[in-house]
């Protein structure tokens, strides 16, 4: 048995050293060297097929780099104090409260502490009235809110989000963005992908720009959006603005 409070060792910075990912002869990510610092909000931008989701999965540990390496500061192969929110989250066919409880029970958190965490999470994110509702029957916005809440309940030091609002309407998007800002204020590092440049401008402290599986730029957001740019970045930003 272990408690969430035991997860103290700093897992960040996460460092990718020349990481590549190759499958079936296709080089999907090439030679990516990237430092994910504690407490920062990093937004990964790039055109479709640039490898944004793949990079997120590689950082999170769902796939392993086929070249180069991924190193957590804690030295773990796959750090426990991290969580990920998917574009289309998979909620289990059980109640909202049971969905929050599930990852905690996987970690062997004692029952009493689990109940406490579930209750406080429900309260914090305004999900109390939905606690006993089947998670699969919630609206799209409520489902994503639950997925983000579930990720937060796992007490991550870094939270990965893969286009978390691309299927949501503006009001649900606003709720998710404010949740993300709240986590960031708590010191949780945020790494997210988005197609929405407005969202990137609102949330990003740093931007990593990917193009054809390569990391073109990684710099503070204000410099990315207003400073001198790599030609790919200029084309991307110009194209997006015209479109």
């Amino acid at each position: 048995m272990r408690s969430l409070r035991d997860i103290h060792t700093a897992i960040l910075p996460l460092r990718l050293e020349g990481a590549g990912y190759r499958v079936g002869g296709a080089q999907l990510l090439s030679d990516i060297t990237l430092n994910i610092a504690p407490g920062r909000r990093l937004v990964i931008l790039g055109p479709n097929g640039a490898g944004k989701s793949l990079l997120l999965r590689l950082c999170h540990g769902l796939i392993e780099p086929t070249s180069g390496s991924r190193v957590w500061a804690s030295g773990e192969a796959r750090a426990e104090a991290q969580a990920m929110v998917f574009q289309r989250p998979v909620l289990l066919r059980r109640s909202v409260a049971a969905n929050l409880d599930y990852p905690l029970s996987l970690r062997g958190v004692p029952r009493a502490e689990r109940r406490e965490t579930v209750t406080s999470t429900l309260r914090r994110f305004g999900l109390e009235h939905l606690a006993d509702r089947p998670a699969r029957l919630l609206s799209g916005g409520e489902q994503q809110r639950l997925a983000v809440a579930r990720a937060r309940a796992m007490a991550p030091q870094v939270l990965f989000l893969d286009e978390p609002t691309s299927a949501l309407d503006p009001s649900a998007t606003r709720i998710i963005e404010s949740m993300i800002e709240g986590f960031s204020a708590e010191g949780i590092a945020i790494v997210m992908t988005t197609h929405d440049l407005g969202q990137a401008r609102r949330l990003a402290q740093d931007v990593a720009f990917l193009h054809r599986g390569r990391l073109i730029e990684h710099r503070p957001a204000n410099m990315f959006f207003s400073g001198p740019k790599a030609p790919e970045t200029r084309a991307f930003l110009a194209g997006e603005l015209i479109w």
């Binding site: 998917f86 066919r93 990852p103 996987l106 029957l137």
Partner: protein, 231 residues
């Protein structure tokens, strides 16, 4: 023929003791076999869905093929195992309800395994990244996937029940159709029809179909309810 139906309803209405005994034994044998096959088959099928090992394809094909195992062949295999000169002859189980349960379990198991594998494989494709992200190992994912697939899995278990309750070959060979001891609805129907006493055969046929219909109605209702309730 009309006489047979009238007599059949008479038998059912009167709650004939021999009839009730036969129904009771049939249900006990088949439901026990379904329970054992599910206990083994659900985790086995789920394990087969998630595990990757050499020869996995062959195992899958084997279980799929065994879904078509003729009941008489299953009965014969169990008979050979349990007959006095067989490897398990010392247990003296031949011509007992236990032998019938074993034979029916062998018939049902491939259905439960194959359908479970198929259901869990589909679920795993959808859940894999999320469950791994939440920290579930493959082994730990098994009960989660079984629970989330419960509505679909019920269909597989029902198909197993249908196969076992309908078959006559296996229970006849290993049970011996002994009155009051190993006579089931299907073996009784076989015997009574051969003897020309159609009323008992028809009564049993009606009851057998009625039970199957009722069970399927309940399962379907439960499935619909669960879909509406659980999404």
């Amino acid at each position: 023929m009309d006489g047979a139906f009238t007599a059949a309803f008479g038998l059912i209405a009167s709650g004939d003791a021999a009839l009730m005994q036969i129904i009771g034994l049939s249900l006990r044998v088949t439901l026990t076999a379904v329970a054992i096959a599910s206990l083994i088959g659900l985790p086995l099928g789920a394990g087969l869905a998630l595990a990757r090992f050499p020869g996995r394809g062959a195992v899958i094909v084997l279980f799929n093929a065994l879904m078509g195992l003729p009941p008489v062949v299953a009965g014969l295999l169990v008979y050979l195992m349990l007959s006095r000169s067989g490897p398990l002859g010392g247990l003296a189980l031949l011509f007992t309800p236990t032998a019938m349960i074993v034979a029916q379990t062998i018939l049902i198991l491939p259905i439960v395994v194959s359908l479970t594998r198929s259901v869990v494989e589909d679920l795993w494709a959808e859940y894999r990244d999320q469950l791994r992200s939440l920290g579930a190992s493959r082994l730990r994912a098994v009960p989660t996937l079984l629970w989330d697939g419960r509505v679909s899995l019920l269909t597989g278990i029902l198909a197993g029940f249908g196969r076992a309750s309908a078959e006559v070959g296996a229970v006849l060979i290993v049970g011996g159709n002994i009155a009051g001891h190993t006579r089931t609805m299907t073996t009784a129907i076989t015997l009574e029809t051969a003897r020309g006493s159609l009323s008992l055969a028809v009564a049993l046929g009606i009851i057998l179909m009625g039970l199957t219909l009722a069970l399927n109605a309940v399962a379907w209702g439960a499935g619909q309810w669960a879909r509406g309730r659980l999404g």
